[in-house]
């Protein structure tokens, strides 16, 4: 394959980043840390979209458009998520996800 970049490298990078983000989302107790891990996973998806855009359809720019929309949604998501966490913290004085159990029945 030589030294030229190829899309598989970027896919493996994005898969590794997604796996790290998933590990963080599953293994953390703090709700803000889980939110950060979700941001890492969305970023991994963006790398994949832009890499596919460069290597497979360089004229169409669809991948970059999708990446911009993903960034928009991620910004909205982190704002709302933090608002919910702060609201819960004011009621319950905890951000530990294992204590968020009052929707169980």
């Amino acid at each position: 394959m030589g030294t030229a970049l190829n899309p598989s490298y970027f896919m493996v990078l994005s898969a590794a980043l997604f796996a790290i983000g998933l590990y963080g989302a599953l293994s953390r107790k703090n709700a803000i840390a889980v939110l950060i891990s979700i941001e890492i996973m969305l970023t991994a998806v963006n790398i994949n979209l832009v890499a596919i855009n460069k290597f497979l359809t360089p004229e169409a720019f669809i991948g970059q458009i999708f990446a911009i929309f993903v960034i928009t949604v991620a910004a909205a998501e982190v704002g709302l998520g933090l608002a919910i966490i702060i609201a819960i913290y004011r009621n319950r004085h905890t951000v530990d996800l294992d204590d968020f159990n009052w929707m169980k029945w």
């Binding site: 030589g2 030229a4 970049l5 190829n6 970027f10 896919m11 493996v12 990078l13 898969a15 997604f18 796996a19 790290i20 983000g21 998933l22 590990y23 963080g24 599953l26 293994s27 953390r28 703090n30 803000i32 840390a33 939110l35 950060i36 941001e39 890492i40 970023t43 963006n46 790398i47 832009v50 890499a51 855009n53 460069k54 290597f55 497979l56 359809t57 360089p58 004229e59 720019f61 970059q64 911009i68 929309f69 960034i71 991620a74 910004a75 909205a76 982190v78 704002g79 709302l80 933090l82 608002a83 966490i85 702060i86 609201a87 913290y89 004011r90 009621n91 951000v95 996800l97 294992d98």
Partner: protein
């Protein structure tokens, strides 16, 4: 020769991204996690530049490394008062999560190695912003407006959520 440089840049950026992402999910102090998250986002912006997506790289730096990380730092400061040292504990699920994500990574890597991608030999046009704008405002104008509405609704909702709890907050 150009290939060697871009491969070197890719290896350095990948090491930077993966290393700082690992630090983000393993460090005990949440503020340090957020600071390493900024490093990771800047590395990702470098990867976008390597992929000829300069507008997305600029948006990445502005939105993620700027706005989102500052918002996260504010969130950490607002909810964590005592003892920042152990603000980010891990729960019992990490024993389950580690083999799960390892398996997921192996499966994705195997599928990537197996897939036959038809690489188009063309280059990305040099001026991406001039090419993005007509697509965004012609073909994708409905999603564009929906994204604007989404941002407005999210902003209003976040304000409402925080304000309402403050109004009837203490103790109830």
């Amino acid at each position: 020769m150009d290939n060697v440089y871009s491969l070197l840049a890719f290896v350095l950026l990948a090491g930077m991204i993966l290393g700082s992402a690992l630090l983000v999910v393993t460090l005990r102090n949440l503020v340090h996690s957020v600071l390493w998250l900024i490093v990771m986002f800047i590395g990702v912006a470098g990867t976008f530049l390597l992929l000829n997506a300069d507008f997305v790289a600029a948006v990445q730096v502005l939105v993620y490394a700027g706005a989102v990380c500052i918002m996260l730092v504010f969130g950490v400061m607002l909810v964590q008062r005592p003892n920042m040292e152990h603000s980010n504990p891990i729960n019992w699920r990490f024993k389950l999560a580690a083999p799960l994500v390892g398996g997921l990574f192996i499966v994705i890597g195997w599928l990537t190695a197996k897939s036959q991608l038809v690489v188009s030999g063309q280059e990305v046009p040099a001026q991406t912003v001039q090419a993005l704008a007509p697509i965004l405002l012609n073909d994708f104008v409905i999603p564009f407006e929906v994204a604007a509405i989404l941002l407005t609704v999210a902003l209003t909702g976040a304000l409402l959520l925080v304000k309402e709890v403050k109004a009837n907050g203490n103790g109830s």
